[in-house]
């Protein structure tokens, strides 16, 4: 039963039937759960097939959406909405179905595509796992949940998808639940996100109270048109919903669950905890942007900060600082993810909707790629260890694909020009400056500096320097020097040695029998098997290429054009004063890449609308220069720091060799090389030990002990409160009152026992005496 007559005519089959996209993996989940174990490939084939099918439909829908936008000729592009009755109350019916527009298309494609790659990757990575089928069931259910959320036409469906993601996150983080640490990380993730979800529930209730509907389109339209009772209520709705986003998207101060969530298998980290699930919060803000924009008065005249931007900005800096002191490669990436999510939030907080959504898009590719690369390293080179200091180093020679993908993605993450991250991140920073949010502009460029710094450090530790631990083992085997008969040998050789896995048991989750590994690509025969490296190649390519969908630097605004109807608010020139406005308007005249009609339409809309978001600024190299210079500075500082700190320890020669090579490659001056010891001394003693170390240590300490401590403490004290209440109030007071009455009865029973003499006369006396007393009472009452 269709909920209401919705305009879907001539939208095209794929757009009309986009509801199939989540439904396919959802059904596949049940198929895997019920029949997966009996299938030849343990259900993974169903998972992959369903994701491919979803991807095909999503791609079809994307194609038709592009067609729809292109044929609209500058008019407002309506989203395609279809809903079926899901539940009703008080005669009001609520639907389930689809709400598909540019924003939804972007994330749909993203999720379907990355899920497919990650599932393929996983068939190798978790091969032989005891709960292989469960793994694929959960990860398929995750994709279904995310797709449900993305397609949600109303808040209830959004909550449905949101919570399904939370569930699968719990299941997958705790995939190896035999170890207490893993199950605790899973619980922590679920609880922390759940704390945020209070905001989601409350915010939804407030929205229903304000707008009388839960349909996203209805809410957005009313909010944009100013049709809400009191601004106060809308503000509270926005704050409540944003709390949910803080929890889900790992924003400060609820970000602590995300690094812990790395206890899950690496493909899970790459899919859920970097590229897709954690952007759900950002997606929610983008989806309901009019609510947040109006409710929190973003871009209002004279506003210098707002909740979203502040939280995002703090997250950027704090997480980046934390990433600097991690030894676990996945934790570096996790903090990096948190930091990048902070960028997205900050972008939304300063009105840079398009840039933020585009950053969701590009970030997903390069961050997923980084995680998969980390997985590839641990799978092949480091004996399932993620410790950069103990088990890695010098891997670039043996793992060309992994190394290449990592480097490209790192460049994208760091925002080096012409890699994808540059186009999105720089635009966020630029927009902040443009919209007069100077503080956040500074936060943005400092964040960029820190990003490249920690990534350089990590890259150095993983791929350069002396191989250590597991990596040394791995590298050593190549040279034929040692240990032909152990596990590392098996990693490389294709002959079967499946009988001896004794050495694995010290690494926790991989106690199960190691399966026979797949074959690597012939041109990188020491790298991971092809099922792992193929996704890396694809994602690495996209880490470069995806940026060109919306590259103002080279004059491409295609992405913006496709998604701008999803903002829910008209675009308008921000009324900035002084040089800024002049500069912008002059750029306006120069840059003709946006059609004159579009500008006219937007300005016209801006005149009539009450609220509007500023149009993305026009790109200028001059504006980007400070950021780029800081990126360069960050790279250099971190590089020398890394060389000095980590390179020195192994022997005297290798760091020297390493340093010369790097400096030749990047054309840096020899002076630094000569003065290496000075710098070493300076950085290590002054900056590292004097400033950076204590600061980040302090931040980490603060994080682990205060914020995390608050989280843990809240849990612990809640439990203690529970115990106290139970012991003292329930058992003593409430139950005590009940038992006391019993006891009184009992005691008085003892007291009255002599009365209970068994003598008839006494009974008679009591009976009549009581009757008399009763009669007297009655008389007195009636007098």
């Amino acid at each position: 039963m269709l909920l209401a007559a919705q305009e879907t005519a001539a939208a095209g089959w794929f757009l009309e039937n986009a509801w199939l996209i989540p439904l396919i993996p959802f059904v596949a989940f049940f198929v895997i759960l019920l029949f997966g174990k009996k299938m030849p490939r343990g259900g993974s084939e169903v998972g992959i097939a369903s994701m491919v099918a979803a991807l095909v439909v999503a791609a079809g829908a994307a194609y038709q959406w592009i067609d729809r936008v292109d044929s609209s000729h500058g008019e407002e592009v309506e989203p395609v909405i279809r809903q079926w009755v899901w539940w009703q109350s008080g005669g009001t019916r609520f639907g389930i179905g689809e709400h598909i527009d540019g924003l939804a298309i972007v994330v749909l494609l993203l999720v379907a595509f990355i899920s497919t790659l990650v599932q393929i990757y996983s068939t190798e990575y978790v091969k032989g796992d005891r709960r292989y089928t469960h793994y694929f069931a959960s990860i398929t259910l995750f994709s279904a949940g995310m797709l449900i959320m993305v397609l949600a036409p109303n808040m209830v469906q959004l909550i449905l998808g949101w919570e399904i993601m939370g569930l699968t996150s719990f299941l997958l983080i705790g995939h190896w639940w035999e170890e207490k640490a893993n199950s605790e990380a899973a619980l922590k993730a679920f609880w922390t996100v759940r704390v945020g979800d209070v905001g989601l529930l409350v915010g939804t209730a407030v929205l229903l109270g304000i707008f009388g509907t839960l349909d996203i389109k209805g809410i957005n339209d009313s909010a944009a048109a100013g049709q809400f009772g009191s601004h106060n209520a809308l503000m509270w709705a926005a704050i409540a919903l944003f709390i949910a986003c803080i929890g889900k998207s790992g924003q400060f101060p609820l970000h602590t669950w995300l690094p812990d969530a790395m206890a899950g298998p690496t493909p899970v980290s790459s899919l859920l905890h970097s590229s897709t699930m954690v952007v759900a919060g950002v997606y929610l803000v983008a989806r309901l942007y009019p609510v947040f924009h109006v409710g929190l008065e973003i871009n209002a005249v004279g506003q210098t900060f707002n909740l979203i931007a502040v939280i995002g900005g703090i997250t950027v800096i704090v997480a980046a600082a934390l990433a600097f002191v991690q030894n676990d490669i996945k934790k570096v990436l996790a903090y990096s993810t948190v930091s990048q999510l902070g960028y997205m939030m900050m972008g939304l907080g300063v009105g840079a909707w398009t840039a933020s959504v585009f950053h969701i898009f590009t970030h997903a590719f390069f961050k997923c790629c980084l995680f998969l690369a980390a997985g590839s390293i641990s799978y092949t080179a480091s004996h399932h260890s993620f410790d950069m200091k103990k088990d890695m180093g010098g891997l670039w020679k043996k793992m060309p694909i992994t190394f290449g993908a990592w480097m490209v993605s790192t460049a994208a993450l760091a925002g080096i020009p012409f890699f994808s991250g540059f186009f999105s991140k720089d635009e966020i920073i630029d927009s902040a400056k443009h919209a007069d949010y100077t503080i956040f502009y500074l936060v943005g460029i400092v964040g960029a500096f820190m990003t490249i710094a920690y990534m350089t450090r990590a890259t150095y530790l993983v791929f350069f320097g002396t191989p250590r631990g597991g990596a040394a083992h791995f590298m050593g085997v190549e040279h034929g020097l040692e240990h032909r008969d152990d596990h590392a040998h098996e990693t490389l050789g294709h002959d079967d040695h499946s009988d001896d896995h004794a050495d694995q048991s010290d690494h926790g989750h991989d106690d199960h029998p190691e399966p026979v590994r797949g074959r690597p690509f012939p041109f990188a025969k020491y790298d991971s098997p092809w099922k792992i490296t193929a996704p890396l190649l694809i994602l690495g390519t996209l880490a470069v290429g995806s940026g060109y969908l919306n590259a103002p630097a080279v004059g491409v605004h295609w992405f913006e054009h496709q998604t701008e109807s999803s903002i829910g608010l008209p675009l308008a020139e921000h009324e900035a004063d002084g040089d800024n406005a002049e500069q912008v308007s002059s750029e306006h005249a120069v840059d003709e890449s946006v059609g004159a009609e579009d500008v006219g339409a937007a300005e016209h809309a801006a005149d009539s609308a009450i609220y509007s978001v500023p149009e993305p600024p026009k790109f200028a190299w001059g504006a980007a220069a400070p950021g780029l210079l800081l990126v360069l500075a960050g790279f250099l500082v971190s590089l020398f720091l890394s060389l000095a700190v980590f390179g020195k320890r192994k022997n005297v020669l290798s760091p020297l060799v390493g340093i010369t090579e790097r400096n030749k490659l990047f054309g840096a001056g020899h002076r630094f090389l000569v003065n290496k010891l000075y710098l070493d001394h300076l950085y290590e003693k002054v900056i590292v030990h004097g400033v950076a170390y204590p600061v980040s240590k302090a931040a980490y300490w603060f994080n682990q002990n205060i914020i995390d401590g608050v989280v843990d403490g809240a849990g612990r004290s809640t439990k203690r409160t529970g115990e106290w209440v139970y012991r003292n109030i329930d058992q003593r007071l409430v139950d005590g009152a009940v038992n006391a009455s019993g006891m009184v009865a009992n005691e008085s029973g003892h007291a009255l026992q002599p009365v209970q003499s068994g003598k008839v006369n006494h009974y008679g006396a009591l009976l009549f005496g009581a009757a008399a007393v009763g009669a007297i009472v009655l008389i007195l009452l009636n007098v």
Binding site: K759, A765, F768, G769, A771, A772, V773, A775, I779
Partner: protein
């Protein structure tokens, strides 16, 4: 006798009759609960029961009065005397016919009496009984029988079962096996 008593002008006589009988009854009742001789107690009880029957007649309830005489004085009292005999109570005075703490009964009884007097006086003070006419009295027996075989038929049958059960029960209890 009824007609004589019910005449309006002999109301005084009726009152006097009532008080005399009442006085006798009360004395007899005190004796029942205070005498030390069981047989005497039974005999005083006969006096009380007879007095009650007399009061019934004063209250224009002859059928009840007759039943009272027949059932109580005729049957129940005989039962009591048999009971006394069979339990070999001494015909003479008993030494400890009362409980150790028999005095408990005095306050209870007095309180009860006080409550009842208060209630009765409070509720019926000044209520004068309109004497029923002769015809009414004559028809009262008819009305009673109508009541028994009409509205109260089921309770009557139930009561007969109770009596039967009591008879059987009494036999069972008293049998010497």
């Amino acid at each position: 006798m009824n007609a004589l008593l019910l005449a309006a002008d002999v109301n005084v006589a009726q009152n006097i009759g009532f008080y005399i009988i009442a006085a006798i009854m009360l004395y007899a009742a005190f004796s029942v609960v205070s005498t030390k001789n069981v047989v005497h107690a039974a005999l005083w009880l006969v006096v009380v029961l007879g007095g009650v029957a007399a009061q019934y007649i004063l209250a224009a309830a002859e059928f009840v009065a007759v039943s009272q005489v027949m059932v109580y004085i005729g049957a129940v009292m005989v039962l009591f005397l048999f009971g006394i005999m069979l339990t070999r109570a001494s015909i003479g005075a008993d030494t400890d016919v009362n409980n150790k703490d028999w005095k408990l009964g005095i306050p209870v009884g007095l309180v009860f009496f006080g409550v009842l007097v208060y209630t009765v006086v409070d509720a019926f003070e000044g209520t004068v009984i309109v004497e029923p006419s002769a015809a009414q009295i004559a028809s009262s027996t008819t009305l009673i029988s109508d009541g028994y075989l009409g509205d109260y038929l089921i309770p009557l049958i139930a009561l007969s079962f109770v009596l039967l059960a009591a008879a059987v029960g009494a036999i069972v209890l008293a049998r010497k096996d």
